[in-house]
Amino acid sequence: MTVLDAIQPMKHQTVGNTIVRDIHVERQPDSVGDEADFVVLVLADPPEGEDTWPLEDLRSLRQAVREAIAERVKDLDATWYVVFEPEHPDLDDGDPQLGFFDE
């Protein structure tokens, strides 16, 4: 079973106040150059008036990923990391992400 297959049941689940809208896995080199699976959890926007998601929810999600991989992926061939992304991108303020000049 792949990492994506193992964590797929988490899609559409609610943990605390946080809903997992989508899941994908990106295989790419990590900071030491080893191939790694980056588990991207796309989350519903944070609660109204909050800048981010409840930390307890994020930690529970990370733990759920850890447990799913440990239980279901028998021949893990790479390490993994968890990345949280918002469902909707931040409102554009006209400053491009790729801008090299920040003035």
Partner: protein
Amino acid sequence: MAQAVPIDPSKLIEAAEELAHHKTGAGRPRPVWLRRAVSTAYYGLFHCICLEAVRHMLPSGREEQQLLMARTFGHAEIKECCMWIDGRQGCSRRGVQRLVRELKSASIVSVAGSFCDLQEARHQADYDHLAVFSKAATIAHIADARRSIGQVISAPPDERAAFFSLLALRAKLI
């Protein structure tokens, strides 16, 4: 003569907060500020672990000795230990397997997971031109680093002893 001011992890977290919140209201803060916020939050946690480890190992040492010894710890070595604890990598080094097993059921396991993910985010923030950082994820990283720092400091003595011993055994002498 100017006096050296040691790196204070809590001040780094404060700085990360300021970077991430420099723009109030709707709209994304400038990407470069979010990148610096992620990187600064990581360094807050990294330096906390190093400093707490040497304070544990050299409780009666002079501050200067502790600060010099803190530089012994490397990013990759701490991450490797955290991966063993968090279960992302198996630990094949028999000499420390018992320590790792004990830590897997300890509160420090959540710190280990946070450290692994935060170090990767730091690397992308500092080096990957194509990485995208949202305000929500950046602030989440800072909150995670802040909580982890509190957990490292307040962990039960036996957990601290096991964690810092593991880091010391894995550290490379410089």
